[in-house]
């Protein structure tokens, strides 16, 4: 008589799932035990401690509210510092345990001869892994909520349960993306070693490639302002870096991205697995994708790294040579790792030639100004406002802020020189053109950038922004003189120095400290005319250039501080059409404040201000 325990199956998915779950049940129990300690047990301790400490610390809130805040803090803090590393660690353990069969000829013989479809074999194991990772975590989180209820903490504000579940969902999606990445490389590679090397090289190499490419372009392409690369590029394909989002708010778009990323990787993994030759187990690669990708990334990274390093140490050595040398050495190293030796390594020189060719092309594109990128300059009548800064011109900073009804400050700071008047825009464009002309005399290959910088940003009337940054390698001989002239233009000063934002209503008293006599600060109340005269005198001293050219904090007679109703924040009024308002994107309907400022008054630097102070009898 034949007895069978078999039940109908769609290609063996559930059988594969069940077998995999049995295979990792021991490790799953360990993982669950660690989670049980980290979440419910420590939450109990946290709540018990909060209950004990409540009378000592927070007399201004209820005990329930205090306990809820403590619990919320604990649950949120445990995610980036404990739960996520734990998920990554066990994801690695489970993945190696469940998918190493791909890299062993004997296990491939068994599993590929079973009547189970390959995609179901892979997906069943993946589902088992996700179950083993997610179910204990979700169960422990639910247990935590139960514990909160037992302690009498209602599941409402200040507990942010929605945000908490979003973050848990993000943790799981981020881990799923990591699984997708690992499985993709495990399928493509013939050994676990190659898969691990490839995964690590991909995770470290991609952000490094973006970073080095940006640094390289900034150095090699005159005019390129490099800090405009979005952080997304660094984090988008790396689940480890992607987890940085936990320090911010998890949004739906972030969740969607990681879901799609994981889905694409897993789909690619399954599709490749269907075509994966069984005989590739224990060989180097089933598919050449990772090898080509990783070899290119590592070669490009080391090439640029060595090129930039040599350039920073000895700028006269040609960048291209050192970059090609670095790429060559990295290519050899990667091949030696993948080939487990150097036998036949010279056969891969064609692949290196591709990298070298790309390097040369990339260098030529950058060093010749990237098809007119360097030379592009707007016409003056296209420009609404222009801002510029130099790497050493940071002594004046405007720091504005608004204060909302909850007392939270929102700051708006700038060290930029801002111009919107046509003749001033033309002067900035003229300096920009001089720099471009200077570069063109050095052509056809522009030199690598180094030294101090001049950055200019045009806000165009069509709403776009044109930013360029140049280095002293390409500055004209009279650059210093011209930048000085631009920096002391009245419009520039008015948008750069805080006293030009003051009116007689911005302050009601001044404090004075006489450095020669010492003692305390002397507070003096001024009437509206005296305040207006003081503001006018301060502005006159800056416009005359005295306050700019002899600006030494250790060489003054009196320190002048302005205060408004005893507060150091000074209310200011900025015109609706002000260039400063446009550049800083200041809010239209909120009161703006300036941080109270001190001025080092001396006869040499602030003669007009000193005269007014003497006239009103504030100083002798």
């Amino acid at each position: 008589m034949t007895s069978t325990t078999f039940s109908p199956k769609p290609g063996g998915f559930f059988q594969s799932y069940r077998t995999a779950l049995r295979q990792i049940r021991g490790v799953t129990l360990l993982y669950t035990a660690i989670l049980a300690v980290a979440l419910p047990l420590l939450l109990i301790f946290t709540l018990a401690q909060a209950k004990t400490n409540f009378p000592l610390y927070t007399p201004d809130m209820t005990q329930t509210e205090y306990m809820a805040r403590q619990a919320d803090n604990y649950l949120n803090a445990s995610m980036p510092w404990f739960i996520l590393p734990l998920l990554w660690l066990f994801a690695l353990i489970f993945t190696v345990s469940l998918f190493r069969y791909l890299h062993d000829k004997r296990s491939v013989d068994l599993f590929h001869s079973l009547p189970v479809r390959r995609e179901n074999l892979l997906l069943g194991r993946l589902a088992a892994e996700v179950t083993a990772l997610a179910v204990p975590l979700l169960a422990m989180e639910l247990l935590c909520l139960l514990i909160l209820l037992i302690f009498g903490v209602p599941l409402q504000e200040p507990l942010e349960l929605g945000a908490l579940w979003l973050r848990i969902f993000f943790l799981l999606l981020d881990t799923l993306a990591l699984l997708g990445l690992m499985i993709f490389f495990l399928v493509c590679c013939g050994t676990v070693f190659d898969a691990v090397i490839s995964t690590v090289a991909f995770c470290a190499g991609l952000p490094l490639l973006v970073l080095l490419s940006t640094s390289y372009v900034e150095t090699a392409l005159p005019g390129y302002a490099g800090d405009s690369v979005p952080m997304f590029l660094y984090r988008a394909m790396n689940p480890f870096l992607g987890a940085i989002i936990l320090s911010h708010t998890v949004t739906a778009s972030v969740l969607l991205w990681w879901f799609l990323y994981a889905a694409v990787l897993l789909t690619a993994g399954v599709l490749l697995y269907r075509r994966r030759p069984s005989e590739s187990a224990e060989n180097a690669f089933a598919f050449p994708i990772p090898r080509v990708l990783i070899r290119f990334m590592v070669s490009a990274c080391f090439g640029m790294m060595l090129g930039l390093l040599v350039h920073s140490i000895y700028p006269y050595f040609p960048f291209l040579f050192s970059a090609l040398l670095g790429a060559f050495l990295a290519h050899l190293a990667m091949e030696a790792v993948y080939r487990r030796g150097v036998k036949g390594i010279w056969k891969t020189m064609r692949a290196y030639a591709v990298v070298a060719g790309l390097f040369v092309a990339f260098y030529l594109v950058c060093a010749t100004g990237c098809f007119g990128y360097t030379n592009r300059i707007p016409a003056a009548d296209e420009v609404q406002t222009v801002t510029f800064s130099t790497s050493y011109g940071t002594e004046h900073t405007i720091m504005l802020h608004t204060i909302d009804e909850r007392g939270i400050l929102t700051g708006y700071n700038t060290q930029l020189s801002i111009a919107s008047q046509q003749e001033n825009i033309e002067k900035v464009i003229a300096l920009h053109q001089d720099i471009i002309d200077c570069y063109q005399t050095m052509g056809p290959l522009y030199p690598m950038s180094e030294g101090s910088s001049f950055e200019v940003s045009y806000m165009l009337k069509d709403g776009s922004v044109l930013r360029r940054r140049f280095y002293s390698t390409g500055f004209p001989a009279d650059y210093e003189k011209k930048i000085q002239e631009l920096s002391t233009l009245p419009e520039i000063l008015e948008n750069k120095i805080d006293c030009f934002l003051l009116t007689s209503e911005s302050f009601d008293s001044v404090s004075l400290y006489d450095i020669n006599e010492g003692g305390d600060y002397q507070s003096v109340s001024l009437d509206v005319h005296e305040r207006a005269a003081l503001v006018e005198a301060l502005q006159a001293d800056y416009l005359s250039g005295n306050a700019l050219t002899n600006y030494y904090w250790n060489d003054y007679d009196v320190e002048l501080s302005l205060t408004y109703q005893g507060d150091s924040s000074l209310p200011v009024s900025i015109a609706e059409d002000s260039a400063l308002r446009t550049v800083l994107q200041l809010p239209d309907h909120e009161q703006l404040y300036l941080r109270g400022e001190s001025y080092p008054i001396s006869q040499k630097t602030f003669p007009n201000t000193l005269r007014v102070l003497q006239e009103i009898g504030a100083v002798s």
Binding site: T4, T5, F6, G12, Q23, R106, H112, S113, P277, S278
Partner: protein, 299 residues
């Protein structure tokens, strides 16, 4: 029935199976013999659906095994080094097979467990090589396959277990028409159990024939001639090998014994003797005829 047509399998620059064609009838035990690297294991893996053929096909009851569940449900493959998960016991493996193969027979498995001296709760990887093979055999036979593919299955089994295995396999073949393909270098064991034999060499099939026909169709002759005739007179035989030493001629020739004896009597030997060949001798003779430099290897 296993129908192999123009089957080719390559591993990079190496062609492991080169356009081979033959058939294995249902309800037969087919022995695969051949030199190392001849392609026997590659053929078994391709027939089991582990490898995808590069060209040609291997059809099991009319179906391609690669990613074909309806075929693979009836095929069990035991490789030369059977794999078991690190912590698996025989019961764990039976559980895997019972949930994977539709015709799993629990009673049959229990019966087989009583025949083989194995602890079903012991980790299989802690067992000896021979016991691991027994565990693989138990699981495969419990799945009640119609086609059983075995690679070096006798390796590591003690003589008693070999006899037991042969008896069980013969029983499965006679009782329910199971087809068995065994690749082995142990020609003595194959000789006992196989009814058909295929000889692989360098990715090709030199012949596939019924064992009895094979053994009857090739004979070894030792004869003494005085005087020794010219070597060309032996061309009348369908020679596989020929050696002469003084007046002694020792050759292997294809053909029926009667035919060989008739031709031999025409040469009037002083003394002649017709000897039956063991499978091992057939193998060596055929390999030698196929260009396998046995003398050089053995010297």
């Amino acid at each position: 029935m296993i129908d192999v047509k123009g089957l080719t399998k390559r591993f990079g620059a190496v062609t492991a199976l080169d356009n081979i064609s033959f058939q294995v009838d249902s309800g037969s035990i087919f022995g695969l013999v051949g030199s190392n690297g001849a392609g026997k294991s590659t053929f078994l893996r391709t027939a089991a659906g582990v490898y995808r053929p590069d060209a040609g096909s291997v059809l099991i009851d009319g179906g391609e095994p690669f990613e074909n569940l309806s075929v693979k449900e009836n095929v069990c493959f035991i490789s030369d080094y059977p794999f078991f998960p690190r912590t698996a016991t025989l019961l764990d493996m039976a559980d895997l097979f019972s949930h994977t193969y539709p015709h799993w027979d629990k009673e049959r498995f229990s019966y087989l467990c009583s025949c083989f001296p194995l602890d079903t709760k012991q980790r299989i990887l802690n067992m000896s090589k021979g016991m691991q093979r027994q565990a693989a055999i138990l699981c495969a036979l419990g799945a009640r396959p119609t086609h059983l593919l075995l690679d070096e299955i006798f390796d590591g089994l003690d003589p008693v277990m070999r006899q037991l295995l042969k008896r069980i396999l013969s029983g499965e073949v006679s009782d329910r028409g199971m087809t068995v393909v065994i690749a082995s270098h142990n020609l003595r064991e194959l000789e006992d159990i196989c009814d058909h034999v295929g000889l692989f060499h360098r990715g090709g099939v030199i012949f596939d024939r019924e064992l009895d026909e094979l053994k009857l169709g090739i004979s070894r002759v030792q004869a003494v001639f005085r005087p020794m005739p010219d070597r060309s007179v032996f061309d009348r035989f369908n020679l596989v090998t020929l050696r002469t030493q003084g007046s002694l001629v020792d050759f292997v020739a294809r053909g029926s014994q009667e035919e060989i004896l008739a031709k031999l009597s025409e040469l009037n030997p002083t003394f002649s003797e017709l000897l039956p060949l063991t499978l091992e001798e057939v193998f060596i003779s055929e390999m030698e005829a196929a260009g396998y430099d046995i003398d050089n290897i053995l010297s």
